[in-house]
Amino acid sequence: MKEFVNTNDILDFAIGNEQDAVDFYLTLASEASSEGMRKAFEEIAGEEIKHKARLVEIKERGIFNMPVEKVADLKIGDYLVSDPVHAGMSYQQALIVAMKREKAAFKLYSALAEKAPNADLKSIFMALAVEESKHKLRFELEYDEHVLSEN
């Protein structure tokens, strides 16, 4: 696992992760099977860009006060099988991939928090983990509402 010595290291790493997410959703958008899906992925990429901008701002200003709140985990993605990303995948499949991605990021930050050498770094990692779990919750709620519609 990567070693982090200071806050800037961590933020660079997190900013890099957000950029990866932007790229990921833009790829999904470019391979989308309909205009509606393309728009949806571009919207998610837009949200990731905002997340990234927020981290960049934190880094530049040097103020870090992201609250560590409790975020619900519906664990929907935990039990689902995700297909490898492919052109023309359905929105349901894409949501599963997205939930799993955000959960992995959450786990990564939580693990880093666990191993953090001091309390300051620990709280930063924890706050980042919370951010990721918020992103996941957004996908989970959408999945809960629209995919598991049980008509």
Partner: protein, 604 residues
């Protein structure tokens, strides 16, 4: 509580009435300098309204904090001190049938119950007359007789028998004939509900059917499958204090009566327009478009992928809930009106939308939401794990229920689990029990309150012995060596903290896994849109879920002269909503095509 004439015979015109609340015994009388009135809280359109009434017998002065017109009906009348309802649920006004409020009047050292009609302007308003002619004992809601619970699971015959004429008349007698009927607002196609109920009261059943059909072309179907409890009946004024009028049962009664008495007449279409319409899909949305366009004088051709017309009405909803003979009757009616059917035509494969546009002036797409959703958990590919679509289609369309007359292999299981809690899940479970399964369980991840199925369906399922495993969610299917399903591993769920909208989503309880032994699973968690049409029509705009995007006012798609409606636009919804969408499209199509004709005629 009967009113006795001797209690009141001494009361004279303009007697001052001291009035009390029957619950808290506080008085309604307010006396300020020379002004005297009785002070009540009325409920009108859900809001509390101050109501002041003259305290003198036979003086009709009434004033309220909002303007009310004659015929308006208070939804409730409450005591301003204890806020309890004064409405007596056991009686109604004998003049107009509206609910009545009860107060206690003190006169000559006696306490006398007095009743007052909640309808503004009713002759009996304002605590005036108190004789028995003016109240009547309320009729309870009439339920439909049904097949015996034990016997019915051995047949596919329809469960409720429908009203007799006597029951229908009794039930129709409960309607208050509101001047401002809320029920009509609750109906997606705005059927004149008090209008048709009035005809039933007058024993004019034929007239009643005509009133319904002005707005609803498939009343025998809607009377059976519409979720009235969330639509017209939810809004019915009677429902505030007691059970609403059984509008759905009455609708079913008049439609059945008309059919059984052979009174359905094929109208003669006077205008014949030299224009052609193609309708893709023969579900309720397509059938409505076809009916409306035929009546306008267009020639209409319907393309259907299956060999039988009717959409979900024939291959989804089972025989015991909606007899196929009724759907066929409606379809034959349209055939006699001039509708041409092209069966076994998958549009998008055999013909594209663009090709249809070369031969037709306009196209309507009503292909429904026919692509089953799966949960994407391990084991879904095992044998005997079916989607609800496949299961019901085999049982209905392939007439597996008529085995051995029809020799379709019937999906069979002795221990069956159905995943989901909607109407589709109940239909699958109730079908499974009729195929002879000894143990049928609904597995649903939320609690009973959230079950999206109609109450009637849940009740019928329970009566038929179907078990419910609530707050339980499958995590994987387990298979035999031969790759047939033999069990479902489930996890128990609990409702999590409410989110911003107050909704509580279910979350799994770690380590609570259990295994249910089963030999057949039906997954009924919803349907999405089928992509076939879009593969050859990429310029048809869709949203991220694959549903067609339309102009809400006209239901026209991104391609001019191509309209769409029903489940393919909204996602899985209801029969009546699909019909409503069809009607919007038909009106808009007719308007646009008529305008076009005018333009060409003028320029010639």
């Amino acid at each position: 509580m009967a009113l006795l004439d001797q209690d009141v015979k001494y009361l004279k015109f303009k007697t001052y009435l001291p009035c009390y609340c029957p619950h808290c015994k506080k008085t309604f009388n307010v006396e300020k300098r020379d002004v005297k009135y009785l002070n009540f809280t009325g409920v009108y359109e859900g809001a509390d309204v101050d109501v002041k009434i003259s305290p003198y017998l036979n003086v009709f002065e009434q004033e309220s904090s909002i303007p009310l017109k004659e015929g308006d009906l208070f939804e409730d009348l409450k005591c301003p001190s204890c806020n309890k309802s004064l409405v007596n649920p056991d009686i109604v006004c004998g003049d107009c049938g509206s609910p009545v409020g009860e107060v206690i009047l003190s006169a000559y050292s006696r306490l006398i119950p007095f009743f007052s009609c909640l309808k503004v302007g009713c002759e009996w308003h304002g605590l005036t007359r108190a004789d028995e002619r003016h109240i009547k004992i309320k009729i309870p809601r009439q339920e439909m007789p049904e097949q015996d619970q034990k016997l019915r699971i051995q047949t596919y015959q329809e469960v409720p028998y429908g009203y007799t004429t006597e029951l229908a008349s009794l039930e129709a007698g409960r309607c208050l004939q509101c001047k401002n009927p809320k029920c009509v607002e609750g109906c997606p196609v705005n059927v004149d509900i008090p209008g048709f109920i009035k005809c039933i009261r007058e024993d004019d059943f034929d007239g009643a059917a005509k009133v319904v059909k002005e707005k609803n072309v498939l009343p025998a179907i809607c009377g059976r499958v519409c979720p009235q409890e969330n639509q017209c009946e939810e809004k019915c004024i009677l429902g505030i204090k007691t059970k609403p009028v059984a509008i759905g049962n009455l609708e079913r009664f008049v439609a059945d009566w008309e059919r059984k008495m052979d009174l359905v007449k094929i109208p003669i279409i006077k205008t014949k327009l030299n224009k052609r319409i193609a309708v893709v899909g023969s579900g309720p949305s397509g059938l409505t478009v076809a009916a409306d366009m035929l009546q306008y004088g267009y020639s209409v051709t319907m393309y259907e992928a299956f060999h039988e017309a009717g959409g979900v009405l024939v291959y989804g909803i089972p025989e015991f809930r909606l007899p196929k003979s009724i759907v066929n009757f409606e379809i034959n009616y349209l055939r006699e009106l001039g509708l041409r059917f092209e069966m076994n035509h998958v549009i998008g494969k055999i013909l594209t939308i663009d090709e249809l546009l070369e031969h037709f002036d306009a196209v309507f797409i009503g292909v429904g939401a026919g692509l089953p959703k799966f949960m994407n958990i391990p084991g879904e590919a095992l044998g005997n794990v079916f989607s609800a679509n496949e299961y019901l289609t085999r049982m209905n369309l392939m007439k597996a229920y008529l085995f051995p007359e029809y020799d379709t292999p019937k999906p069979r299981g002795t221990k069956v689990a159905v995943i989901g809690g909607g109407n589709v899940a109940m239909d699958c479970a109730r079908t499974a029990i009729r195929t002879g399964a000894s143990d049928v369980t609904i597995v649903y991840r939320r609690s009973r309150q959230e079950l999206p199925a109609r109450h009637e369906e849940v009740r019928h399922a329970e009566e038929e012995g179907i078990k419910f495993r609530l707050l339980t969610n499958p995590v994987q299917y387990l298979g035999t060596d031969g790759n047939m399903v033999k069990g479902i591993e489930c996890i128990k769920m609990k409702l999590g903290e409410p989110d911003a909208s107050g909704r509580r989503s279910p979350v799994p309880i770690e380590g609570s896994n259990i295994v249910l032994p089963v030999d057949l699973v039906v997954v009924a968690i919803g349907n999405g849109s089928n992509p076939i049409i879009f593969q050859t029509t990429p310029n048809l705009n869709r949203n991220k879920w694959g549903n067609i995007e339309v102009n809400q006012q006209t239901n026209e798609t991104s391609i001019p002269y191509v309209y769409a409606g029903g489940d393919i636009v909204t996602g899985s919804a209801t029969v009546i909503e699909a019909m409503g969408a069809g009607r919007i499209a038909a009106n808009a199509m007719h308007k646009k095509l008529s305008a076009k004709t005018k333009k060409t005629t003028n320029s010639n």
